[in-house]
């Protein structure tokens, strides 16, 4: 099936980005990421985009597909195309390195302040450990109206990770501050767009409730 893929391209020293069209003929079941990879190998050698696991487990391929944040590797082109057109743009709220690749350091910079763990305990017949579901893809930052405009916001995923991985039931003081949970205005776009249902929005409200009712301590 024929599709027109329009990609927002940007190279260093360009004054403005350019939207470039590529015509492809692929199976509607093909993932948007596979289509982008095909374009980069066959038509546009300098197309820059991030990808690693190709099955929605690493968070590298987050991008805006027809206006909505998604992981390109688990999004089928046939499901998102409108009249055969798919527009691809990089995530919002991050500095663009080139084309669809962004610099996620503004999100990872917050980790040093909060030092989240990587595991959560699982209660079962025998205790096992589990890596947090959060892929650290940055989609919640791109979707959040606050993260886009408030540079110092710790951010939905980092707040939720800090809470869920806490080993002593406490959270760092910055979570209970204007830069932490109190920056949120309840748009819940983070939870709506999260590809793994990590529920950062609900977690932020849960933290607020626990802070208000004295059930959560800060370190």
């Amino acid at each position: 099936m024929k599709y027109r893929v329009i990609i927002r391209k940007y190279k260093t020293e360009w004054r403005e980005p350019k939207y470039v069209s590529y015509e492809v003929d692929v199976d509607p079941e093909m993932s948007v990421l596979d289509v982008v990879e095909k374009i980069s190998l066959e038509k546009d050698r300098t197309l820059a985009f991030e990808h690693a696991c190709h099955h929605g487990a690493c968070g590298a391929c987050g991008m805006i597909i027809n206006g909505v944040e998604r992981l390109a590797c688990i999004t089928k082109i046939g499901e998102v195309a409108r009249n055969g057109i798919v527009v691809l743009e990089p995530l919002r709220g991050f500095k663009v390195i080139s084309d669809l690749a962004v610099n996620k350091s503004r999100m990872f910079k917050q980790y040093a302040l909060v030092k989240p763990g990587t595991h959560e305990k699982v209660v079962g017949t025998v205790e096992v450990e589990k890596l947090l579901d959060c892929l650290e893809c940055g989609i919640c930052y791109s979707a959040c109206p606050i993260a886009n405009t408030f540079e110092g916001y710790v951010g939905p995923s980092v707040i939720a990770m800090s809470y869920k991985s806490s080993s002593n039931g406490k959270v760092p003081a910055i979570i209970d501050s204007r830069r932490g949970v109190w920056a949120c205005h309840g748009s819940f776009e983070c939870s709506a767009r999260c590809p793994v249902d990590f529920k950062p929005g609900e977690t932020i409200m849960k933290i607020r409730k626990e802070l208000l009712f004295g059930k959560l301590q800060v370190v």
Binding site: N66, G67, V68, R92, G93, A143, P145, N148, T149, E151, C184, H185, G186, S187, F188, E189, A192, E202, M205, K206, I207, R208, K209, E210, L212
Partner: protein
Amino acid sequence: MNIGYVLRSWFKLRGRSPEQVSFAARRLAGIIMALYFLAHVIDISTVVLGKDVYNSFIGVFTSPPAILVDLFLWASLVIHGVLGLYSLIVEMGIMVEKRKTLLAISWVTIVLLFLMGTWVIMNVF
């Protein structure tokens, strides 16, 4: 970061969740009310310029086209107020899982209050 970028991040609506659309509505209503408040302070303060100037300003604000402005203002007040109450509840961590139901009730309330206010405004003027 410029004003265009800020506005685009608050008001992006395509494919967005009902909570985000409500957030945008509340914010827009708040901005409108803030601008109106500014305009209102200015027009009231024309009293210092004498009775005639003041009366002519007030005349503009009570003429028929101004009724539409009043309705618009009432809508903003109702949207901002009811959604503000919704936010108050959900952002304290209460009824978070049931927020979509609460949001639906809020919008029904907004429509009802708006209709009631419209009836009042139309009949008083």
